[in-house]
């Protein structure tokens, strides 16, 4: 079951194509990484989902229903550019934003109270935003995004501006919210957090989706069947099972060799081959590409394919 389905989305700003035939399916209760370089069209997509702008063509469905005004309360949105009313008190501000999301006043007051308690910030209630530190403001901003318990939480670069301690706090909150049933869309170009948290990813480049799917499956697809072997002894002889791509020699007789499986062979066969050779195996590991590697490979490859203008 998908919480969000986008079909054939197109958006053009005065001859600049921002989205071109983009399809996306975001499974329920997942953490979905929306990746792409600056200006790829991520923010445009997010703004369309938030009904800030309309797509030129295409369709978006939330839980199988066409996106409509009633879904505003279903979505929580943390934009990349953070901002709150500086002169407004924390309590008033959160109440206003919660009511705009359709929460009744009484319920909103209660939720604000419990969220501030969670963040050990109950005494901020009557402070003006401008009197808070930047980190505190970010926490208030995060609370404003999730306090109405939205089914779909869209976070644009959520960790920018947080110190490592607060970033961890937010990370834990995100995981907890998923446990409670929310789906989180993460728009970022920070790959380490994607690697760590995302279940699914989609890569958008130059207004087109060039890749999407389960993170582990994508990483699998991008495997190059290469293995790193650290060994003693110098006697690796290649055969029809594998090739020796490179070899580095360390001190104390240690070597690090990159081996590439030839078609059809399995890792077990390779290991078996190696056991029969005159080397002492110290470690044996498959080279799995990081999301970062895949990202760079695809975005760069895309650039090479298009003539530079």
């Amino acid at each position: 079951m998908h919480i969000l389905t986008a079909k054939n989305l197109n958006k053009t700003f005065h001859q600049n194509v921002a989205l071109h035939n983009v399809d996306l399916e975001i499974p329920k209760q997942s953490i979905f990484g929306l990746l792409g370089p600056n200006g790829a069209g991520k923010s445009t997509f997010i703004r369309i989902v938030n009904q800030i702008i309309n797509a030129d063509s295409g369709q978006i469905q939330i839980n199988g229903e066409d996106l409509a005004a009633k879904h505003i309360g279903t979505i929580g949105y943390l934009p990349e550019e953070r901002g709150l009313y500086k002169k407004m008190k924390v309590g008033d501000q959160l109440l206003y934003l919660a009511q705009l999301k359709g929460l009744p006043k009484k319920e909103a007051v209660q939720k604000i109270k419990s969220w501030l308690e969670r963040f050990e910030a109950s005494d901020w209630l009557n402070k003006k935003i401008e009197d808070l530190s930047k980190g505190m403001q970010q926490k208030v901003q995060f609370i404003s995004t999730v306090m109405h318990e939205p089914e779909l939480i869209i976070l644009d670069e959520p960790f920018s501006g947080f110190d490592p301690i607060n970033a961890n706090l937010i990370k834990d909150e995100i995981l907890r919210l998923r446990e409670k049933g929310s789906t989180i869309i993460f728009s970022t170009h920070r790959m380490e957090s994607v690697e760590e948290m995302c279940d699914y990813i989609a890569l958008i480049n130059k207004s087109e989706k060039i890749l999407d799917g389960e993170k582990s499956k994508i990483k699998n697809d991008f495997k190059s069947n290469q293995f790193t072997l650290v060994h003693r002894g110098n006697g690796i002889s290649t055969n029809e099972t594998f090739n020796l791509e490179s070899k580095v020699t360390f001190g104390e007789g240690l070597h690090k060799s990159t081996l590439k499986l030839l078609s059809g062979a399995s890792s077990n066969q390779l290991l078996q081959e190696l056991l029969n050779q005159k080397v002492d195996i110290v470690s044996f590991q498959e080279d799995i590409p990081s999301i970062n590697d895949i990202f760079i490979q695809l975005v760069k490859g895309d650039k090479q394919n298009t003539p530079t203008s």
């Binding site: 938030n50 505003i72 949105y77 901002g83 709150l84 009313y85 407004m88 999301k101």
Partner: protein
Amino acid sequence: MSKIGLVIKREFDSRVKKKSFLLATILVPLLFPAIIGGMIYFAIQESKNAEQEKVYVIDEAGEFNFENDNKYAFEELNLGLEEAKVAFTESEAYALLYLPAIDLANPAGIVMYAKKNPSLQASSYFENQIESQIRDRKLKSSGISEEELDKLKTNISLSTINVSDTGEEKASSAGVAYGIAYAFSFLVYMFVLIYGTQIMQGVIEEKSSKIVEIIVSSVKPFQLMIGKVIGVASVGLLQFAIWVVLIFALSAGVFAIFDFNPADMQTAQESMSGMNGNSSAQAAIMENSKVGEILNVVYDIPYAYYISVFAFFFISGYLLYGALFAAVGSAVDNITDAQQFTMPITMPMIIGFLGTFMFVMPEPDGNVSFWLSIIPFTAPVAMMARVAFGVPAWELALSMGLMVVGFLFTIWMAGRIYRIGILMHGTKVNYKTLLKWVKTNS
């Protein structure tokens, strides 16, 4: 509560709870009666304390006869002109009038000597005195008796009465109408400008603090804009209402404190205008009848009519300009950039304001006045001035109708600029871009 309602409430609360609002709302009404009260007080004091000035007169033919009043005491000198000049410079006297024996048909050679430049009031006062005495002498010489001469002297006060089609008569006064026209058109001008700028500042603040992206994910940009415009308008109306109540209450208080009665007002007016060309008894009668007349007119003012017309033009003018100010705020990143766009907005306002003083006040039913009060951009100020002098119903209806069309149009246009502008950062915007935004469908 609806979303627009929530936005209105926030805009209203955040402004009304500010200290600056409280200060302006309370201080301005305190200031007005304080200034007016102070001026009246000093005017009364001055006229009470004013000393009679001595004026020497050399009347060579002995034909003139000056009566002392509370400002001047006349003393005739039987000296030659040169000796009199010496005596004058050594004395404390204010002026020396030299009246040579003159030919009635062609009076010449009358001179007023003074130690410093005499005020225009003083010289014209003496001129009037001498002129009327020469006129009296001319009349006498043509055979009119003293008795008849006294009968000829008249003082009239022109009462103007408006007669309506139904024959109903109403006291009117050009002065009172002028005052009302001035007050109402100035108020409309001031409020639209002050609160229009506030909308613009609010929009720029939301845009530069980046909160707008969060807000428009919950509210349509148009709702946010309308909410802001209405919220700020309610602040303006509240402030205006408080001012009116406070000014009336405090003015009444000030008048009570100074024991303000028509007699004092008369002396105050006399000393302020320096007009006491008539004997004081005559002046008192005349001023009293004038005061009574003005009070009569003031009581007769159809307040309900003026205030409802004022409310209409205030609100519609504010909506018309407020929407444009919101559009400008949305298109720029900071106040400095806004200036190039506010010029064309304030221009028609200033034209309307100046036009009201140059054309509408002197000639409320003139051609230019008509057009100024019909075109929506100048109508709020110009029509408010015309209403005070009386305006045909169809013209008022036409002006109001066009006003509604006008503000619906500017709100529509502003909404289209606003929805795109608030999400744009760092782009240099010019009129071409704005036009493109208006045409873009999102």
